[in-house]
Symmetry: C2
């Protein structure tokens, strides 16, 4: 039985608390949530595990899971007691060594975009794990297994690159959606109109690989359409349009 | 009954020929495909309607549908007989007036990315229509209705902007997928790992609007992570990363 404590109840932490707390009802679970804490000292409704207001009063557990902002990880590295409890952070871009005061340290990175009001499907997400030793590796295996059958061991550099890839396919993709929707809204065209194309873009990228699925004026080298698009954009939108167009072109001419 | 002829059997034209040809089996259809032609003079397998090798021999029809490259539309505007037959093009970025030799002219734009080997779901796509007069409008209504219950009347400028929006949410999104996948492949991380995040990005953008769904280092102003990403990119990838990051930042600070 792995006894855990969760520090931070934001988008990810809140979902982890709810998920592990709900396991209490099942007698077969290998993971037991013993409590949680957050900066605002707010009790989460419907959770059996207790809110601990002061991190000096964290109960005896096998693992403390940090679901906090990236800049808090180093702070907690110094603040948490050096009693051998395993400390695990959940950040994509922070290395394992940010927890170097603790000999038992690990990372559980879930490459997904979490929101408070959207229930995540943990079983679809690959739990990306890193551990400082075999003891932690075994603990993380147990924890990861409880969340998802999909697991992958990545070192800090691989994870950092995975996080960078996630910035492209989540943040940057979402911003392209934003720019496309802006154009439609200006013309009073309902944005639902593009939903089938958004869905097809995703499915095609997965079926063919995105490099093989690319179409459009940039890949065709259709300079007349590109120039006409460019002219119809505000100067503040031209830089991004031009940079992506050039990057598509470079990819083709490799 | 609307008798049509399809000129061009590429990604879109091929699917339209197959779709309208299959309607022949149904006695209730309002649209009848009388033939098709293509530059390579190739018979499409399994199609009942005849291939016409020479455009001077197009049979008598009510409408000729052009599913050709953008630059062919003006050429055909001059070449097609001026006998009152309705001429309709299918391009997002070309105006209705590119067919100005023909008093009965129209546009049927289907904002989707078509591929030869993927069967489109026409009923999910909004048929975007434009017509030079009421006669053509009625014909296009009949044609559009046969493809999809979703229809929208857009003028040439609106359609051009819709096409520009489609470039963002299809071509540019796909290129962000390409760049993300490139990073994973370099690290030997299977790209399926990011599929749940790609799917969630799409669903969240549609539920919350992409502007409200934006997360990540650019929107947080996390300059340390941004700099570290930037440093790990090749110089040829830095321009696009920087341009999108700046654009996300501008959007936030509006």
């Amino acid at each position: 039985m792995l006894r855990i404590f969760i520090l931070g109840t934001g988008n990810l932490g809140g979902h982890l608390v709810r998920y592990f707390d709900s396991l209490k009802k099942s007698e077969t679970s290998d993971v037991a949530l013993k409590g949680y804490s957050n900066a605002s000292k707010k009790v989460l409704p419907g959770i059996n595990a207790p809110l601990i207001e002061n991190i000096a009063q964290i109960p005896e557990v096998d693992m403390i899971l940090l679901a906090v902002g990236d800049n808090q990880i180093e702070v907690l590295n110094s603040q948490l007691p050096l009693d051998g409890t395993t400390i695990v952070h959940t950040s994509g871009s922070i290395s394992l060594d940010a927890l170097n005061h603790h000999k038992n340290r690990g990372v559980l990175y879930l490459p997904q975009s979490f929101s408070t009001d959207r229930k995540p499907h943990f079983n679809e997400i690959t739990a990306c794990l890193e551990a400082s030793n075999d003891h932690v590796l075994q603990q993380l295996g147990l924890l990861g297994n409880t969340l998802s059958r999909k697991r992958k061991y990545l070192n800090s550099l691989q994870r950092k690159n995975l996080h960078l890839a996630a910035v492209y396919i989540n943040n940057f993709v979402n911003h392209c959606y934003t720019k496309g929707f802006e154009i439609l809204e200006k013309e009073n065209i309902p944005t639902e109109l593009l939903l089938p194309l958004m869905q097809e873009t995703l499915e095609k990228a997965n079926d063919l690989s995105p490099a093989n699925a690319q179409t459009g004026p940039a890949v065709r080298g259709d300079s007349i359409t590109i120039q006409s698009h460019f002219d119809s954009l505000s100067t503040s939108d031209q830089e991004m349009y031009a940079a992506i167009t050039r990057s598509i072109n470079k990819k083709i001419n490799l």
